[in-house]
Amino acid sequence: MSGKVLMRGTHVLGEAAIRSGCRAYFGYPITPQNELPEYMAAAFAKMDDAVFVQAESELASINMVMGASIAGARVMTSSSSPGISLKQEGISYLAGMELPAVIVNMMRGGPGLGNIAPAQGDYFQATKGGGHGDYRLIVFAPAYGQEIADMTRAAFDMADKYRNPVMILGDGMMGQMMEPVVFPEPVDPAALPKKEWVLDGAKGRPSRIIRSLWLDTALEEELNWRLVRKYERITEEIPDQEIYMCDDAELIIVAYGTAARVAKGGVHRAREMGLKVGLYRPKTLWPFPSGPLARLSRTLEHIVVFEMSTGQMVEDVRLAVEGRCNVSFYGRPGGSVATPEEIARVLSSTYHRMGSRNHKGSEAHAVRDLSRRAAG
């Protein structure tokens, strides 16, 4: 499979995982992500060195993931919102035991059983903990088929590099959409860097322990601070974002995943109306890419945050912006997907409310002129 292929998002995830050296998958069916375990089952059936188990529950599957990770495999599980809630116990343990694993959440409408339509209501759960204790997940938010492939590779690499669980946060629409994709070159799992901490029987070495219990408060505190230092390193090294048509923008929209694709359409339509608008799209949700957004906010009049939820990421945007410009929220929760026209209308009405006296806007141009002169 070289060159460009047309594939749906869930299958892209599966193929990219296999090409990233994933040889273990444990899951439990839930719509809208079932094509992924189905893909893994079919593909692994043809491979001698790969393990597929359909577990009896999400609880069991995430703990099988834990076991496979303990034994050194590149391992993945996937689910959708209610199933991810059940996996939270295991995710907290994975973080505490510093075990690499890739967890896919194809979000659906909630809370509760909700519906199977695409939604983004699990942002808090993904980025702020979800399970118990002080920990962070690395969270990737792809928006395009190609990005699903690339981020899957990155997810496995980051999980191993930092010994931390990584989540790929998508939604039902992304999972179903067919798009052209070029897959990364396959890696040979045997050629990956050796993990010195794996449990495989204490042959010719002292026995090892992988644990999450630290009854001694000093040791637990030490672990917590060590995790914080790791998270700080991650925060410096991996935040990523797309900044689109923001150079002369006075108003930008911030959105991720499927919502960002709709928002981009809205930006195009608003530009056609002559409005100076742009899009800021976080590609990592934790760590949240606040640096570039903070810099943009110095020259912007207003930011609209658009989410397919009642407003969760908007809090991280406000933190990044620290009051330097106005931030408002527009949301379509419950599985409703906005249209680009709708977003254009939101942008246009916000734009006109901003008023004609755009001090910050002119200041922005002054700043840019200065920087251009400095560069020249």
């Binding site: 273990a24 444990f26 393990v51 188990v53 577990a55 009896e56 529950s57 609880l59 069991a60 599957s61 703990n63 099988m64 993931v65 834990m66 076991g67 496979a68 990770s69 303990i70 034994a71 050194g72 495999a73 391992v75 116990e89 295991g90 343990y93 035991m97 449990l199 495989d200 029987g201 204490a202 042959k203 010719g204 026995s207 090892r208 322990i209 992988i210 644990r211 999450s212 219990l213």
Partner: protein, 245 residues
């Protein structure tokens, strides 16, 4: 001088934290002796529980990975599937295996996972301070059944081993005791058979071991062993529940 008794190689030289008269200490030793005798110390991975034996990794000198409360069978499944030529055992209390971990255990057994489960049944939640367990017998007083367990309110003691015997993927299930010397010998044999079932790649094996908890039963160690023999065995008869070659 000929040495006739020493610490098994698979046990670290660390004093147990268990209460006097507790069955966990005896069972640890038996498991370690079996690992030594089978010569599998360097290919074994143990999965200790949440419960009084949560610190088992301080004692067993084999690779050990802690599982969340009740999930040992699933964690062990993950390890064993990746490393099919290693020996994987879980060590679980009755609260761990027969309450919160019932689903994981039954399904691991039914899949015929090549793992060995050591199920320590002391009819009570030891670590959390003596609450009623699924295995608490009728009439037994615990902190959450202060008037004694009554079926209408508290349900019946759960025969997990019998349930596991019904699972098509289980090959060897036996219930033994460590409350007397004969029982201890029998338990060691059973543990060995349960590891052999795995080494022979036959399926899921489990040994349920009736084990005294003098502390939470509020008895002396002597009274506790007597209570196992006279009362507990009425509810949990000692027997081979399943043994298929």
């Amino acid at each position: 001088m000929k040495k006739i008794f020493s610490r098994p190689e698979s046990l670290k030289d660390a004093p147990f934290h268990y209460c006097p008269g507790c069955g966990h200490s005896i069972i640890h030793r038996l498991v370690a002796e079996v690992i030594d005798e089978l010569g599998i110390r360097e290919q074994t991975v143990g999965v200790p529980p949440a419960g009084c034996a949560v610190l088992a990794y301080n004692y067993f000198d084999v690779d050990m990975a802690e599982a969340p409360h009740g999930r040992a069978a699933a964690v062990a499944t993950g390890i064993k599937r990746i490393l099919p030529d290693r020996v994987v055992f879980t060590y679980q209390g009755d609260g761990d295996i027969a309450a919160i971990g019932t689903a994981e255990t039954i399904h691991a057994a039914n899949r015929g996972e090549r793992i060995t489960a050591i199920f320590v049944n002391n009819a009570v939640y030891g670590m959390t301070g003596g609450q009623m367990a699924p295995t608490t017998v009728l009439g037994q007083v615990t902190t959450t059944s202060p008037g004694g367990r009554v079926p209408l309110r508290d349900g019946h003691p759960l025969d997990l081993s019998e349930m596991l015997g019904v699972a098509a993927g289980s090959v060897y299930i036996e219930r033994t005791t460590v409350s007397n010397p004969k029982g201890i010998m029998r338990t060691k044999k059973a543990i060995k058979k349960a590891f052999m079932a795995q080494l022979e790649n036959r399926g899921f094996a489990l040994v349920e071991i009736l084990s005294p908890c003098p502390t939470n039963w509020k008895m002396t160690p002597e009274q506790a062993t007597k209570w196992v023999d006279e009362t507990m065995t009425k509810f949990f008869p000692l027997k081979v529940i399943k043994d298929v070659a």
